[in-house]
């Protein structure tokens, strides 16, 4: 059942002009970031300055790390409709009347959005593959950074899905998710210690970008994503199982 809902969400995204526009814009941004990073590396080499960590590290700092910031905007926009869209189109009650559990609905929708974003990310990664034909890249380092990015996107998607389950307006869900992610990113960027720093997905992405697979960071992303998805499931179940008062 989860697979059916995932495929359905993917089909909905593929048929949405907005998703195509977003995917196209993301590819443009990826291309621009990639070319800027490569150009800067060539300029530095021409000046006989070899960046520490070589080309792979340079690409991670100047291409993959900014991509994570791009997804702070893109993920809320691509996931905002997941549940709120059904509410706006008067399909939500109908979905609840189907013989499908809330967890199947939430997981199916989440995976659909994740697959779409991963495909967009993978298309962007083609640029790195093309580059790897002409020069040697640290594949393990790049794959670790990409894994971190996927985990980062999954947390952002789960957060947007949760807000989407709370709201009747897709735009409100996107705005709340964007605001939360920006706030947490700023907490990481200002290197302030404390709860916000600990909660910030951007802070936990750092080790992945350095090529480290830290189990604490992996556990953080998996735990936060699971918690947010569980909250979304509870929200949906609430309407089906307890007294409704608005």
């Amino acid at each position: 059942m989860i697979t059916q809902i995932t495929l359905h969400e993917l089909k909905l995204l593929v048929r949405s002009p907005f998703a195509w526009l977003a995917a196209g814009l993301l590819q443009l941004i990826f291309g621009w970031l990639f070319l800027s990073a490569v150009e800067r590396y060539i300029q530095q080499q021409a000046m006989s300055v070899v960046p520490a960590g070589g080309l792979s590290n340079h690409l991670i700092v100047n291409f993959l790390a900014p991509v994570s910031i791009v997804f702070i905007v893109a993920t809320p926009l691509l996931c905002m409709h997941l549940i709120a869209g059904d509410k706006q189109a008067n399909r939500f009650n109908f979905l609840l009347s189907l013989p499908v559990t809330a967890s199947q609905l939430v997981l199916g929708k989440f995976l659909g959005a994740m697959v779409f974003q991963c495909v967009v990310l993978a298309i962007g990664a083609v640029l790195l593959t093309i580059l790897s034909f002409s020069t040697k890249l640290d594949t393990a380092h790049l794959l670790t950074a990409a894994t971190g990015l996927v985990l980062f996107i999954s947390t952002g998607s789960a957060l947007t899905l949760f807000y989407s389950s709370l709201s009747n307006r897709s735009v409100l869900a996107a705005f709340l998710s964007f605001a939360t992610l920006v706030m947490l990113w700023m907490a990481a960027a200002t290197s302030a210690n404390g709860l916000l720093q600990f909660l910030s997905p951007s802070a936990h992405l750092h080790s992945f970008m350095q090529g480290l697979l830290d189990t604490r960071d992996i556990a953080y992303f998996l735990a936060l994503t699971s918690i947010l998805l569980t909250l979304g499931i509870w929200r949906l179940d609430a309407q089906r199982t307890r007294s409704r008062s608005v």
């Binding site: 059942m1 059916q4 809902i5 359905h8 089909k11 909905l12 048929r15 949405s16 008067n90 399909r91 939500f92 009650n93 109908f94 979905l95 609840l96 009347s97 189907l98 013989p99 499908v100 559990t101 809330a102 309407q239 089906r240 199982t241 307890r242 007294s243 409704r244 008062s245 608005v246």
Partner: protein, 341 residues
């Protein structure tokens, strides 16, 4: 309004047909709603709705706009748990089991719950999978429902490009695809032109024999032409639950009564009265087989009740519905006056 009427013995799972009340062939209850109440904030949207529906019955849910019809249908379809009460679908309690009872329900909301970017065929295939139809039987089920709902000419067209009438047909088709035991249709004739209206009514009438159907409408004529049982809801309260045959019997006479001091009396108890409803303080509508004004007056006198006015009514259900509309109109004009002051 206070409802006094015929009610099915709610604890019985096997009971005679709703329209005949005879004990010829016992039928199994397909849907049993007991004491359904829904509260929005401090306002009661539904208050103690109780009824039983049997296989082959078509229940017309009548009420003015905002009476609580759609809320009740959401509760019956499994989309919204009531604050109080139970909904039994076959042997399952709807809100204690997520999957099994919902597999027996087909629900078509008032606004078609369709994905406008999908083709009709594709959408129905998706719904068939969601309704847990066996993979090998999906194509057959989709073909059957497309034929049943006369969607053959548009099966490969995008839903968003179809007329309202066809979208409503797709809406009904998705509810029928798994041959549900209980079919719930929320105002299926909403927004249709007269020709489409007739087509949808015919479609609903042909579906009625196979399952228990709950059909909401604010049009009395629609309920009269399709249903065999009727429930009238006003401000969330059930004021009538009766077989339509009982109400529209040609031998029935209906009267509007004005009584002095009727506070503790129920006219339903009068001999010969099939159904009685108190529309407001001192105002009653009664119907009964071969009921005559003199006889009614005499019965009232024998119970120390005094009727100041007895007026014959054409049709009990129609009169009751008109009374509801008039009361609602009076209330709304009072509200408007208060607001403009």
């Amino acid at each position: 309004m206070q409802g006094v009427g015929w009610t099915e013995s709610s604890s019985d799972w096997i009971a005679p047909p709703a329209n005949t009340r005879s004990a010829r062939a016992p039928r199994t209850a397909a849907l049993m709603a007991q004491d359904i109440s829904v509260i929005y904030g401090v306002q009661k949207a539904l208050d103690g709705i109780t009824f039983t529906l049997y296989q082959g019955d078509t229940l017309g849910l009548l009420g003015l706009n905002g009476a609580g019809k759609s809320t009740l249908l959401k509760v019956l379809s499994g989309a919204m748990a009531p604050a109080r009460g139970t909904v039994q679908i076959g042997e399952h309690e709807l809100y204690e089991n997520t999957v099994a009872p919902r597999m027996k329900i087909g629900y078509a909301p008032d606004k078609p719950a369709v994905y406008p970017e999908f083709k009709v065929n594709e959408f129905l295939h998706f719904i068939a999978r969601m309704r847990r139809i066996d993979r090998r039987a999906i194509k057959n089920s989709v073909d059957q429902v497309i034929e049943r709902c006369a969607l053959g000419d548009v099966r490969n067209r995008i839903i968003g490009n179809l007329s309202t009438g066809f979208q409503q047909r797709v809406n009904i088709a998705q509810a029928l695809i798994h041959s549900p035991k209980v079919l719930i249709l929320d105002e299926p004739s909403n927004g249709l032109d007269p020709v489409q209206l007739m087509e949808i009514r015919e479609l609903v009438a042909t579906l009625a024999s196979d399952q228990a159907t709950v059909f909401s409408s604010h049009l009395l004529s629609e309920v009269n032409s399709i249903c065999n049982q009727v429930i009238l809801i006003d401000k969330g309260r059930q004021i009538l639950d009766a077989p339509l045959k009982l109400l529209s019997d040609e031998r029935n006479n209906s009267y509007a009564l004005r009584l002095l001091d009727d506070a503790n009396f129920n006219l339903q108890d009068l001999p010969g009265v099939t159904h009685a409803c108190k529309t407001k303080a001192g105002h009653w509508l009664v119907t009964g087989n071969a009921l005559a004004p003199d006889h009614l007056q005499a019965m009232l006198k024998s119970r120390d009740l005094q009727a100041t006015q007895i007026t014959a009514s054409e049709n009990y259900l129609e009169s009751l519905f008109k009374q509801l509309a008039t009361t609602a109109q009076t209330n709304s004009s009072h509200l408007t006056k208060d607001a403009t002051r």
